[in-house]
Symmetry: D2
Subunit: 399 residues, 4 copies
């Protein structure tokens, strides 16, 4: 190992900086996953995740990545050959649609330009056309991690309702959960997909499905082959605080603590903190004279900001130099955005000064890489953070 | 939290006692899974796992449990409706066969009495009968965690070869890997399934598939729907040291260190240590006048010992009292063995004195629970451990 | 580093096995020792240590070892050339007397044979003779770590009272504090000296002085040169939750948690657990046919047991072989007991099964080293532990 | 506990931010401090500390704070009533002189204005006057933590040499060691005093004395009462890799790793990094229109910068608001500087982006507190950091 002085800035849009308290929890000795001590943890995280998803219905916790939880959402509710409607909002919506195809589903993708959220008029139109209700599910990415664009899920719900269409609504919140307000029950979502390594401040290794009653009813009719992801056995076992196969015990230790931390801060405070850091970041980007990828202000992501490079400049060269000189990891442009954008993650366990360091790293990286830009981005952000600080009562001291 | 003095004895046959060095590794900050530091770890664990499985071919590492790795072995190599032949050696072989059925495979199970390994004569007979080669795979559990019985995989290979049958050989080593000698290549296994939480001394959360060339060829013809478990994308990404979806970074930190620790001790020493502790345990069981579940000495497991309770005595009451009075978790009897056997795990990061404490806990638990037994079990074990100590050069001091 | 399988058995009579919960607490980031978060911890440990010493008066917490706390007790209360009376109970009482001489005090040592506690008749006689009250302090080691012998401090108090002598009573509880019942106030002790690395379950690095009002009055008259150890400045700073020089913050994190753990278990339970393990250990020693160094049953230590080697056998060779073969550290014989005794620590974070493993290690070590002994030591201990388990309600499960 | 989002900025001039790798090392189980594993660590840290102090002579490592190491330097080399000459450079030089008086030494303090280093002309003059060589030691603080001013020790050496005076030269490097270049042997220092919690990146709890041959000779003649701090016993024990009383084992684990980290980075790189961050900080201070306390550019500290508040503004109110709003701890003004200055620590495990966050926190704190200042401090610092980045080959990636 070679020591690099100081703490690495992990400012990709996930995995995020895992707080020490979570790491120390994960570091506890593994226990018997069939014993009474485990059961307490089991119930705590199962109940806690309901609060995180803002649902009264069950949440499934998988050992696996968010990709696994995408697969789980589909194989538990659909039937072979079913049609699903997706919106191309970026790299991750595209990956989800490819995954659905691999599982034998028929996928129809509404095109998009990767700079805005799902097109709700198009969704409503398409569902209106689907008189026979061949479409069994509408699948939307709440926060496109590749673009920094959110889709307003209540509008998706409204589009489906306007069309009086019975399709299930499935939403990916992998990079928004516990960072951006999300209401599984109130918004009428049937399956919400989540992961551990973003707003939940955990290492990767857990995936989630929040489930509506309608999704559960669909599950009972679903004939997709499945076993590991099958909700039924897990729900039966979860009712007693346990899991049918060995759960990722140490990550569950961390999850219990992460939920405690979120609730100590308060979800409303968590969300407004993310909003504040996103706004400050955008002010910096504009001050630099660079363009934000997201074209619709109402759809700005509070979890990350994707920034377009000036033509003729390679975003990945800039990222590599920033890593080399300032020990900060920024997100790369994915697939068709490769080398054209870089992404600043400002989610998870994060505060004003770390944001200031992050934006300083971007501003200095731009300078080192010779990317044309105006100075003053950090200043613009600081000005906004000071204004916001004036409004708050201040960071609460430990009680 | 309520403090219980001293360290808990986690003597279930997995998850096992995770050593501090592994826990501390897992406790390191999560990093960018697309960055250069990650890549080094990626290559290290991918190469290291080849040595663990004794193979020159690729090993797939999943974020998921061993159950997921079971599923992966099947969906990557077979086609819908394919027939697989399994041997009923206990609870876990039964679970695997149920999982195969859920995935749409036709499963034929050769019956067994849960006290011995797979019946190789029956396998050979059945394969000889299968003139059309309808059977596409033979699936065997190397070490039945529910019974403490191993199947000698070279004999399975021989049975298939004798029948000149092209079926794939798939083996579950979840509770034997890195505890009992296992040679993926030499024994001609096509897919070996493993998990992190036993001999590898890690928390649960990683599953493994070791793959032969023949398995890879079958994979290319396989049409089972799959995405998360799909080898192709993973192998392509692994070639560069990365994973297609976010890997369980912190568990990989632990895996890298666990492999280092196994190699510092030396695999031969690891295996003989497990043999020694198993032999000492069996001597204790016999001295107590209790019966070992495994009926065939050549098939004794070196990872765990399942012990039969005297008629009229409930193994789970004994286990509960042992936990209450002596803070030790023992394995329960599963499905048809429920309340009839208890299981002593003696695998993973373990030494003579912890074994002595474990056996003392069993002997005292039997006394507290009023289970008829003779004294002297611990003595018999110690006598054997002393004899073995005389043969060794002694525990090596840190170099 | 070279991996040795399993957990090391640290059965010297301190430092003791530090529980994970304390280690994880110590692993928290260091904070500003002048800030509000620190203050809460400061008050918590200062108040907590009063409960540990069973005193209503202040306790001083030093960054330093127990040796430093010995020095602190003397330099804070005495004057250059003062006479102190000590009892030779073993190696540590001797070290304390040497330390006193180096500090310029006149030391009178009442001789002892290292197999029993302080001679209270001799103390009373000597104080009666001291008509001019030249003796300013009587210094006693409560639990002689070198011999496994305790001195009954209430008898010391009585001896001083009988002689109507004004000398201060100073007691070293380094290896008994939080293991053996100790009542600073009730027993009329003036300065009690403690350390972190034994019953408090912490790493070494903190020393303690519990202080009576009389000691504080003496302090105000004391003219020994001192600065680091000076109570006055520390007491003044402690009144606000802080320290005058930088405290050992991370060890204080551990101390706060260690006190919590002791209080979760309950001090009465902690003490009876130590008594139980000591009794079981002595039964093992007797069954082996070996002799306990402590000659007076009322003075047996519940923290450790020193065992005499049969003539012609070297205790350190036995210890080295036990370490080599069974990865257990036992305490060596100190100064005149060198090679003649070994010491078994059974204090701190410890339970029945770890004791069983420890005694098994001794029994096997004796066999490997060819030390003549009878078998059955472990059996004798287990029998006693079973009997005691029957009396208890059982280890409480986490609430 | 109440969660505050993100990582606290601990920017007092020590204790500094302890890197995870050091914390994890400290978190290892405590071992037998008389056993062979300990010995390896003992030798490693004793040898390593020689490299840190740039000396070939022994370094003493104490369990204790830097204050203890101050005391040790004096009691090991002087005699009761000896005269020592000190320079008033700030709060800590004053504390050291008070400590010396408490120990019974005669202390002569050359006055200073707390804005510059020791007055070498005055020292030389005073030593020239001291014809009888009554002055036995000259004691200097290398880096005054209260003022951010360094004294150039080679000039101190020269002043003594010019006067041909035999006094010992003692230097406090508590807040400069391993941050600012320091050459114990080359500069002819007799006793150098250090602590663990600053440039060494450890929690507080260890103190150091580096010793010249002349100091060792003085030690042999010294009659100050001492025991805990006595070099002789420690040196004798250190020769075998051990300590006479129980060492602070877990902090030594951390020390071993901290030295490794310093040497991976390279001492020259460590020092130039501190220089760079100090220069950037001063540019920020000047841009804000605030005044640096240190009046002599050649004496600027690379470890911290003390900043003067505009008249009528309370530095502690500013610090409290900065803590409340931005979760950053800054150093307070000490004794006569109370409320007049604040101190920015930029030492230890630190990098450009954390410095940027730190300076952003100061700039925003000034705004929130309504302290008159110009904007652009952060900008000035970033500009300098970018220029420096251009000169370096870049942060080296892990090998």
């Amino acid at each position: 190992m070679t020591h690099r002085a100081g703490r690495h800035f992990l400012q990709i849009p996930g995995p995020t900086n895992v707080p020490d308290r979570v790491l120390r929890a994960i570091d506890r000795p593994t226990i018997d996953h069939r014993g009474p001590d485990f059961q307490k943890i089991g119930f705590a995280v199962l109940e806690g995740m309901k609060r995180v998803f803002q649902t009264k219905h069950p949440v499934i916790i998988y050992a696996g990545s968010g990709t696994g939880a995408w697969e789980a959402a589909l194989v538990n509710t659909l039937n072979p050959g079913d049609k699903v409607l997706m919106s191309e909002t970026g790299h991750f919506s595209t990956l989800w649609s490819k995954l659905a195809k691999k599982l034998g589903l028929e996928v129809e993708v509404l095109p998009g330009d990767w700079r805005r959220g799902a097109d709700h008029d198009a969704i409503e139109r398409r569902l209106n056309e689907d008189k026979n209700h061949a479409i069994k599910a509408v699948c939307i990415v709440h926060n496109e991690t590749s673009t920094g664009v959110t889709t307003r899920i209540p509008l998706t719900r409204k589009a489906i309702d306007n069309a009086r269409h019975p399709a299930l609504l499935m939403v990916d919140t992998i990079s928004s959960l516990a960072s951006i307000d999300y209401k599984h029950d109130e918004w009428g979502v049937d399956v919400t997909v989540g992961g551990s390594q973003k707003g939940l401040m955990l290492p990767p290794g857990l995936g989630f499905n929040a489930i509506s009653e309608k999704a559960l009813a669909a599950h009972k009719q679903s004939k997709m082959p499945r076993s590991y992801w099958d909700w039924s056995e897990i729900l039966a076992s979860n009712a007693t605080g346990y899991w049918p196969s060995t759960p990722a015990t140490n990550l569950l230790y961390g999850l219990e603590v992460a939920i405690e931390m979120l609730e100590e801060e308060g979800y409303a405070n968590v969300f407004s903190r993310h909003d504040r850091h996103a706004e400050a970041t955008r002010r910096a980007v504009r001050a630099w004279g660079l363009e934000i990828l997201c074209a619709v202000p109402e759809e700005y992501s509070s979890a990350l900001t994707a920034v377009m490079m000036p033509p003729g400049h390679d975003a990945d060269r800039f990222r590599a130099l920033t890593l080399e000189h300032f020990d900060m990891s920024l997100g790369t442009g994915l697939s068709k955005l490769a080398s054209k954008v870089f992404r600043i993650g400002h989610l998870g366990d994060f505060n004003d000064l770390t944001l200031a360091g992050t934006l300083a790293g971007v501003e200095m990286g731009l300078a080192v890489a010779g990317v044309p830009h105006k100075k003053g981005g950090v200043d613009a952000a600081l000005e906004n953070l000071v204004a916001e600080a004036g409004k708050r009562v201040g960071v609460k001291r430990a009680a």
